[in-house]
Symmetry: none
Subunit: 216 residues, 4 copies
DNA sequence: CATGAATGAGACTTCATTCAT
DNA sequence: TATGAATGAAGTCTCATTCAT
């Protein structure tokens, strides 16, 4: 038996050094698996997806997945961490270039919807994950999510200090409402009813409503 | 998963015919099961919940559940239909009593958050369900959800016609944003970070922002 | 997922109260499984035996095994505990009826070989188990085994005190040698080369050698 | 289990042809692998040991093992054959130097226990292997084992012919009892309860008992 | 109607073995 | 020869569903 679970640290990637060389795709096999996972998880949902579905979509054998991830759930977690991480990184590098809080808020709105428009599947996954209830997921996903909300809350807070936003609104409530509004727009879109480009228009309208609503 | 009987129509509800009889609750077994299901689904998530968990929580035998529902998924669907149905019914009967669109919108906001505050568990389920992705669920849940959004959109639309709301915003976008904002506030609360009563304050603030944002 | 392992205590047996009633065998289903397990484990070895083999041999479905045992290993452990327990019980009730240590030693020899002759398969399992190396098994099996050896050692010790056995031999060494000698005879027999009745003759010869060897 | 190639003959040993070359040990890779295998098999048991564990312990790549052995089981078999072979060879060369059967029997006893004391791990493996039950192993291991027992039986038989041993005991039964007694002492020791040097004392005592028991 | 023991399909995961480098 | 990433067969175990009582 000896289920020697090498628990603790993330799995090492076999041969980090020989990167892109062979067939099919430029990316590493780990990335191929993650890319495939986004697709199938989004299409069928996490629970309805079998590991073998991910493997097939990635063009690898079932067992290969376990060379890069500890479990099916670990694939989902990695997905979440990778993507939200990059969203946060993007915010950290781009937002400071803008001067005022309203400008930044508009940017966040476009960004979140833009991310989703580009990766509708990832969008579904991100918003679903934080509602999935295994304790493990909650523990891992929640902090990232909170970090994202806090980043928005800080923009609101800064705007209030600069006199750009009314001060009778809690920055945290505002942040959640903003995130939720974006998410609400996304989800209906993800459910299938919206045509291409609709998100961009929605983003503008939403920004208009929120900024006017937040004006002092 | 085992033995998915591809049967067809909804089951008749044995409870319809001989209402309240036993002890415990006014409703009959079917209701006991649904009540139990809300609790355990919300606590553990749909997939992590076993039929036997629901049975135990409802105080019935595993097999009994199959006298009232065709499958575990059917329990979830019934739950969703019953509750959203009653929410829609409530909207249909109460909103007309209010005169203006802004008033009605405030009412919807309080109602949605109020529903959630009263039934946090049901709240989690409703928002999670529409993101659970078996095709069956999507097909069944989406229409109800859309109906709810449409009800909100009609309020916005009426408000625009009455000159209470700006007209450069799509009622549908507005509806989705409103729903999402509410949901966004709810979910953080559901994730555990907010104290009791916070939802009420958040509702007021949110209504302020949205109404001012939507003002002509 | 929710692998709710009800760890800790032994599993309850479904409906202890309705014992023997229906088809196939008098014994309980748990016993049917244990009986089948002895056979297939002995024939194929523990690791080479699939749970489904045990199930098939017991005439139950695979899943049924998990209603009575926590795992495949738990079946083996239960087997071991049940049988050695009964051997120890037998010793405790029968040996006191004999007067002298030599008589008792002869009885033990006949008993151990008799048990094996009657249950060749169980014999293989008992002797194999204490050499299998999962920590769990060692921890569970060793104490029972030691208890058995100690029972033999006490006979030797008593014999020395009564002047029936030489005193320059450690009772514990003697016990182990006696057990081993019996086991050695058994194993060759189990390997297939001995005809029926050979064990009885071997028992007599062995007793002769050992008793003379141990004489003062 | 995967991919059991039903191939036929033993592999040639690459090491035969170009003996010691690299660092670490006098023997070549094949021997390094066998040495490593003794250690890990004894520590974790055969089934709980992964080929990669053996590889890691031997300091070679997983695939390398298959250059020297046809399968994991073949490693075990080779181990067994090598070691028992050398034990038999030792008996064949050393025993004839002794004059009487009793002397030889004492030598065998010391030898078997001595072998074990020197290589406790190998001891565990030898005694466990003959009880592991894949048919293949039984077929391969049993003959060697029988050969060893026969060698002991011949000593007894010769002793009977020379008038050193009583003749009412079957030499084969005696051989098995002797082997088993030794094994019984070893196993308790292997289970961890005895201190160093205990085996030597046990050997003397055992020899005393057996020789007196076998005396005419 | 109710029960709950039994069923068995199917999921996740492991790991012996292969083979391109 | 040596490597070790990749493979995929197969096993253990879970749990939705059934059905005899």
């Amino acid at each position: 038996m000896a289920k020697k679970v090498a628990s603790g640290q993330r799995l090492a990637r076999p041969s980090d050094a020989r990167s892109l060389r062979k067939r099919r795709r430029p990316g590493d096999k780990r990335d191929r698996i993650l890319d495939a996972a986004v697709r199938v998880f989004a299409t069928n949902g996490f629970h309805a997806t079998r590991v073998s579905d991910v493997a097939k979509a990635a063009g690898v054998a079932d067992g290969t997945i376990y060379l890069y991830f500890r479990s099916k759930e670990d694939v989902l977690i990695s997905l979440f961490e990778d993507r939200v991480e990059s969203l946060l990184a993007y915010m950290k590098s781009e937002l400071p270039k803008l001067q005022t809080a309203p400008e930044r808020l508009r940017a966040v709105i476009s960004m979140q919807l833009g991310l989703l428009e580009g990766e509708r599947e990832m969008a579904e996954i991100i918003t679903v994950i934080i509602r999935q209830s295994t304790q493990l997921l909650k523990e891992l996903a929640a902090p990232k999510f909170i970090a994202y909300l806090d980043a928005i809350a800080r923009i609101v807070s800064a705007g209030q200090a600069a006199g750009d936003f009314r001060t009778d609104i809690s920055p945290h409530v505002a942040a959640r409402a903003i995130f939720g509004a974006l998410d609400g727009i996304t989800i209906t879109w993800a459910l299938g009813s919206a045509e291409r480009g609709a998100l961009a228009r929605a983003a503008t309208q939403l920004a208009d409503v929120l900024l006017r609503g937040l004006a002092p």
